[in-house]
Symmetry: C2
Subunit: 470 residues, 2 copies
């Protein structure tokens, strides 16, 4: 609870118009994109600069008030749901691209910049910021950094972590620290930059980031390969990599996903295929042409029933957009959509997809599977109805089995969505007790009063997803 005195101090820091504790204002920020989680914050606060963030945290740390930093709330792990109340910290005023440095190939941004805006700003200079989470039209870079977001181009280009060079961070005690720099090499002490990437707002508040840009690829091409069975598609994925080609994108969609996307996007997708690979390569024209013809050959040899290269960039863009629309399309089917991201080594994709199908059957559920096959990052997605508590019970048990299977295959419980509140109970499955203890020690070191996004990453108890907090 925020006392009248603290409220007045917070209003004094950010000015009254940036402090909102109305019911309507709090309601808006009581949930994020994650189904089944809702909890009211005590107030919503929008700082205008780093110094204000520092003063807010000092105050909250003194009075043990939870602080939940939030971008656009597109995460799927209840990472920004204020499950323990406190204040939601909004970055709507800290949304500037501070600098594009063409000599050092960097971009410096405030956390509230929309991902797509910065991608386009880089493109305007002939440069490239590769991480492209599906939510990039609305997600913020601050959210991407806190979740270490991935995307479709992760196979070749890596994830957000690989593009964060420097951070300005406000710690729980209000201290402002700066990590890294416009430096390809920097080993001055521990790598706090990467420790904060993916820390889900539980260690401090990121107030500025310097991102690495790379020269934009000259050209790209997109191939769609259709299969009558999942095994052949999975085998093709392995064969492409084994041929020493790393495509930009190597996406997998199963038949139910295809059908749903086609119903939604109506671009003439081959809904009869049992599995589809969407493959993209970029680079110089010669390299792209050569790689794509090798890829086409591998797909054909691997029992693809059809292999087509998009003839125009518009056609390729349609395919990419269709893939990005998967979640929205699936969300139309039933009241509740639960999208997961169990991830396995690339070699285990076929085994994982089959396990998911078996588990779906066992629990009598509809689970569509699509995802980034090239990095083994699958998105088994269950369309269900939160009001049907008997079915939700089965959903929870099915996903617990899916996570167990992923870990058993050398994988992880989350490839790019984060742990948040939702997957906290499963963390120990991946890390063991000693691993979780080591992480808890890090949390304790940075945030001894547990004010930073409390209840996230670490489970308080064994309760699973089927709980609506507060």
């Amino acid at each position: 609870m925020i006392s009248a005195q603290i409220k007045s101090q917070l209003m004094n820091i950010v000015s009254p118009e940036n402090y909102d504790d109305s019911n309507a204002g709090r309601l808006v920020y009581s949930y994020d994109a994650t189904p089944q989680y809702q909890s009211m914050p005590d107030a919503v606060v929008a700082p205008r600069c780093t110094d204000e963030v520092s003063r807010i945290l000092k105050l909250c740390n003194t009075h043990r008030i939870p602080v939940v930093p939030r971008g656009s709330g597109t995460n799927l792990c209840a990472g920004t749901c204020p499950t323990e109340g406190g204040i939601v910290l909004l970055f709507k005023h800290m949304n500037q691209i501070v600098e594009i440095d063409e000599e050092n190939l960097t971009m410096t941004v405030q956390p509230g910049v929309i991902t797509l805006d910065l991608i386009q700003a880089a493109e305007e200079k002939g440069l490239f910021y590769p991480p492209d989470p599906s939510s990039m039209k609305i997600s913020t870079i601050g959210g991407n950094i806190n979740e270490n977001s991935g995307g479709l181009r992760g196979l070749k280009y890596g994830v957000t972590r690989d593009y964060v060079m420097a951070l300005e961070i406000v710690l729980a005690n209000g201290d402002i620290i700066r990590t890294g720099g416009k430096l390809a090499k920097d080993v001055a002490g521990y790598d706090l930059t990467r420790l904060f990437v993916g820390s889900e707002g539980t260690l401090g508040v990121i107030t500025q980031a310097t991102l690495k840009l790379i020269p934009a690829p000259e050209t790209k091409k997109t191939v769609l390969a259709l299969y009558e069975d999942i095994d052949s598609a999975a085998k093709t994925v392995s064969n492409i990599i084994a041929s020493k080609i790393i495509p930009t994108t190597l996406e997998f969609l199963d038949q139910p996903t295809l059908q749903v996307i086609e119903d939604f996007a109506k671009i003439g997708l081959p809904v009869h295929a049992k599995a589809v690979l969407l493959i993209e390569q970029d680079g110089t024209e010669e390299t792209v042409n050569r790689d794509i013809s090798v890829i086409e050959e591998i797909c054909k040899k691997g029992n693809a029933v059809s292999v087509q290269t998009a003839k125009t960039e518009a056609e390729a863009e349609d395919l990419r957009n269709a893939r990005r629309a998967a979640l929205s399309a699936l969300a139309r089917l039933k009241p509740t959509t639960i999208l997961e991201d169990a991830t396995v080594p690339r070699s285990a994709i076929a085994a994982m997809v089959k396990a998911i199908n078996r588990i779906a059957e066992q629990y009598d559920l509809t689970i569509c599977t699509f995802g980034h096959a090239g990095d083994g990052n699958l998105h088994p997605t269950c369309t269900t109805d939160v009001r049907n508590s008997e079915e939700m019970e089965r959903v929870e048990r099915a996903f617990a089995d899916i996570f167990k299977k992923a870990v058993e295959l050398g994988g992880t419980i989350t490839g790019e969505h984060g742990v948040g509140e939702m997957k906290a109970p499963y963390l120990e499955l991946k890390l063991g007790e000693a691993g979780v203890n080591a992480m808890r020690a890090v949390k304790q070191a940075f945030d001894p009063n547990n004010i930073m996004n409390p209840g996230k990453v670490f489970a308080k108890d064994s309760r699973k997803r089927v709980v609506v907090s507060k």
Copy 2:
């Protein structure tokens, strides 16, 4: 000090032949490649497996005995000098390549594997492990990981950190944890993998690592460009990057360095040039040819007095080896060689080189400068004599000025050599008090009894390099 009882327990864990507390045995491990640091350990212990490491750490933690993990001791920051005594942990028995996984493009290794051996093992499979520290013929991968080693290919391919996917770690309390996996994407909790990379043995002991491999580039070409002034060479570096080409290697050597290397290697280097750029590009044949011809053009337009592309791979290899021999060559000049690695944003290279020359003049010292110009990672190297305490005093003051200048230019006190004991007094210059405090809190979280490589990274007091410990 190690009591008779603890000695007997340690001998019991590793077997008597892997415990050495003889004077000769301890003397060998009383120093590393860093000049001016020497300190006797109490014993040298060589475990044969992870379980033995765990039992050793548990014992040392209970009895507060310092543990200094050590590969080949090639580091240049006194990172493996046992300055507080205790045991040196040797990995001579844990030196196996455990697996090369061609489907997932990974290699799993024990810490004692020699870097060059694993690079060659990857090459035999048509794969590529890019990090290539100059010491790679003798350095171990465990040492590389602990120091986050860079190398000549860092500009295009990144550093050791970018290739570590998973670690097995023994914590100070003996707990064994496993981080990451054969996974391109994994956001299950904090990124402990990258926190341990570059942690200099101060947080735990790495007992196994899974490394990322990439397809080997098809071909490569090497260009040598000669300049009459440093500014033109530095400007060329910027122009190459601005042309949207990222070469594999972009090395800078000043005239004194050139002269010394030529005296040593005798391969006909142009010793009259004021500055030389050694530029390498790899990739597909078309891309390499195209990039190299653009690079040649940029060099010529940038006032290079000579631009030559190596005609054969043997000629290129001679140039690369000459560059790698820089430290050895410089070390022949005078009894003591102090090689530093102040690093700046790429755009600040000319300013930094000029500042180094000015500082050398001011303190009347010989400082040669060479390094990885493409990543702003310079190696100002002072040839001096440790017995001349008056000159050493000037050396210390000169390097303090160099570090200050690097930080002032947006750089760092160390790009790839690490902090160790040697640069600990300068850490605050880069990070500020709050930054150092945050790192101390991480250290405290993992190693509350301060047994892991104590005295490294964090300064006990303000003493600088000119101290021989114990």
